[in-house]
């Protein structure tokens, strides 16, 4: 159980003109699971390696339970990293791999053997101890790598893209396993991912990093529905944006006026609504617009419509049956539920 604080953490690689990670401030509650989310090359893994002690920060501080750990060498931090490609030591057996951390802590062999068995049980691979890593499938190797990290009861568990090398069905299994183990052991966990859905499902809080800068650090729900900038909204699949001006809970734009109860003070802004929050309306009313269907795609569980309203184009996710009613060129009426509308600060590109 460790509370992690990153204070102004910065990493500037020699020869680079811009920091890989710039002035990062995050507080990670003890026992919580936080995702560092961002496209590849945004500085997530750099951050992770700095926490583990494998990279030296250029500035800022890292604190475990309010004590700076910058002077503590990586092997003593107890911040164990699980790499994306598992990195099981190929010439050791599975049991030797899992027991490695305890061996480094000079634990006696009998205890190691017992703990290894426990860990293999925990990751649901009992009796695999005598095998060599290359005899295991990718998903099994991943679980062994997890067991190898957990056996030392780490202060902090650092998972680098834990699911990206797995097939779709293994990904769900692994995701649930990580969540289950993390909750039951209560280990403060940071994981790096580029997949916003993965982050949303697993994490208590998400730190979205774009171009080395923290954009927003909040719950998955807040990032999806209350993004603080257009870039964030776009990263989470937001596509519907309307330039306009808001005042007193009313947003005025080219398409008319909308009630926006969640809006802040008056000023210019960008109205946004998630494609799945738009509903198809039967009749005119407040917060409705009329347009025509520009294209439609059937995705099985639902259908995606592109709707032209005046100059603007809206993406709508409707239920699967909608596609039978609304063909291309058909008139359609869209409703924007007031509670689902969100106003972003102005700016950002089209």
């Amino acid at each position: 159980m460790t509370h992690l604080s990153l204070r102004g953490l910065t990493k500037l690689y020699p020869g680079a003109d811009k920091p890989a990670i710039d002035n990062l401030n995050i507080e990670v509650e003890s026992g919580s699971l936080v995702a560092l989310l961002g496209p590849s090359g945004c500085g997530k893994t750099t951050t992770m390696k700095m926490i583990a002690g494998l990279l030296k920060p250029s500035g800022g501080d890292i604190l475990f339970d309010d004590t700076s750990i910058l002077q503590i060498p990586p092997e003593k931090r107890g911040a164990v990293m699980v790499f994306q490609n598992y990195l099981l030591f190929p010439y050791m057996t599975v049991a030797q791999n899992v027991g490695y951390g305890l061996k480094m802590r000079k634990t006696d062999q009998a205890t190691i053997d017992r703990r290894v068995d426990e860990m293999l049980e925990l990751v649901k691979l009992p009796g695999m101890g005598a095998r060599k890593p290359k005899e295991l499938s990718g998903g099994q190797q991943q679980r062994i790598a997890l067991a190898r990290a957990l056996i030392v009861n780490p202060n902090l568990l650092l998972l680098d893209e834990p699911l990206s090398n797995l097939d779709a069905h293994l990904r769900f299994e692994m995701r649930d396993l990580i969540r289950e183990i993390q909750k039951s052991m209560g280990i403060t966990t940071i994981f790096v991912t580029h997949d916003q859905e993965e982050a949303a499902v697993l994490a208590d809080r998400i730190a979205l990093i774009l171009n080395g800068t923290l954009q927003q650090y909040d719950t998955p729900m807040a990032l999806y529905h209350q993004p603080t900038s257009r870039e964030i909204a776009q990263f989470f699949g937001g596509v519907n944006f309307l330039q306009g001006r808001q005042d007193g809970g009313v947003f005025t734009c080219d398409l008319g006026q909308f009630d926006v109860p969640r809006a802040n003070g008056p000023g210019d802004g960008v109205l946004t609504i998630r494609p799945e929050d738009i509903t198809i309306a039967e009749a005119d009313g407040p917060n409705t617009v009329s347009g025509t269907v520009a294209s439609h795609i059937y995705v099985g569980t639902h259908s995606r419509l592109k709707v032209r309203v005046g100059e603007a184009m809206f993406d709508v996710i409707a239920d699967a049956s909608a596609i039978q009613t609304y063909g291309d060129g058909q008139p359609i009426r869209l409703a924007f539920p007031p509670q689902k509308l969100w106003v972003l600060p102005p700016g950002g590109t089209e």
């Binding site: 390696k49 583990a52 002690g53 494998l54 990586p74 092997e75 003593k76 107890g78 911040a79 164990v80 990293m81 790499f83 490609n85 990195l87 030591f89 010439y91 490695y100 951390g101 480094m104 802590r105 190898r148 990290a149 030392v152 650092l158």
Partner: protein
């Protein structure tokens, strides 16, 4: 390779190559045990161990008991002392070259840095430069340094000593070691070390547990090259050793002038024996399955 003609061609090629490689050794074998082998005899009519007796490796007739062998070898004939000296220098040079070469190879194999091509070129220059060019210069410098060391009260000789010869052997050895090992490191993932560190291993422990097992096959090959290059040095030993460091090649070259074919052949067999022995032991590391020699493709 299913087609019979292709298979026949394969075995024919392998046979011819083997013959070319093995034939000289067979010639040495015959010569080393031949006695009074005159024209027009196709193979010798008489056999003897005379050459081996004269080299002091086999006792005279009548003394060929276990104790006879021990007595002879304990008296350290020239060949035996040369053999030991060659072996000692070879092992020293191998050890030193690996210790020096490992960090260099790691840097070259793992990292990109400014001037890397120049460093790589500098490392392979000893294979391009004629040894006589740099060894004459080194010899003069060694003599100067010896004088300087004596002035400082340090009685170490580099010129004409085993130390000096060992150091100068490093010159032709280093390119082989660094190039072989940098190839190994080019396929090496340093994240394994980070993983071990993160699990609580200290740096020395990481080298032992993670680095060494991964590079071991390549290290074997590098050490093999190092030893064989040192083992077969004649010119450098001769110039820097000033005739006072008598290794096996020194004996071989002086014997070559005598015209005694049996003795030259016997000495040659002694000379190539360790090489063949090492090759047999390490052959599995040299086969295509192993990535140990993969580095040569890169340079």
């Amino acid at each position: 390779m299913g087609h019979p003609i292709r298979r026949a061609a394969f075995y024919f090629t392998v046979g011819v190559i083997s013959l070319i490689l093995v034939a000289p050794v067979i010639a040495f074998m015959i010569n080393a045990f031949a006695f009074r082998w005159f024209y027009p005899q196709l193979i010798p009519q008489e056999w003897s161990l005379q050459a081996w007796e004269r080299l002091g490796l086999i006792p005279r007739a009548g003394e060929r008991s276990v104790s006879g062998f021990i007595d002879l070898w304990m008296s350290v004939p020239d060949v035996v002392s040369a053999l030991w000296l060659s072996l000692a220098i070879g092992v020293t040079v191998t050890g030193l070259s690996v210790i020096i070469g490992l960090p260099a190879a790691r840097a070259l194999g793992l990292y990109k840095f400014r001037g890397k091509r120049i460093v790589e070129f500098m490392i392979i220059t000893p294979t391009i430069l004629p040894p006589i060019a740099f060894s004459l210069g080194l010899n003069i410098n060694f003599i100067r340094w010896d004088l300087a060391l004596q002035d400082m009260g340090i009685p170490i000789d580099l010129a004409g000593s085993v130390i000096g010869v060992s150091i100068v052997h490093l010159v032709p050895v280093m390119p082989y070691v660094v190039l072989t090992l940098s190839g190994v490191f080019a396929n090496y993932n340093p994240d394994f070390e980070a993983q071990a560190r993160s699990l609580g291993a200290r740096p020395l422990r990481i080298f032992w547990d993670v680095t060494l097992p991964s590079i071991l096959p390549g290290l074997f090959v590098a050490a093999l090259f190092a030893f064989l290059v040192s083992w077969s040095q004649y010119l450098l030993t001769f110039l820097i050793g000033q005739g006072r460091v008598v290794t096996l090649p020194m004996l071989l070259f002086s014997a070559a002038g005598t015209g005694n074919n049996a003795m030259i052949a016997a000495l040659s067999l002694v000379f190539i024996a360790p090489a063949i022995l090492i090759l047999l032991v390490t052959s599995r590391y040299l086969s295509g399955e192993s990535s140990a020699v993969g580095g040569f493709g890169r340079v």
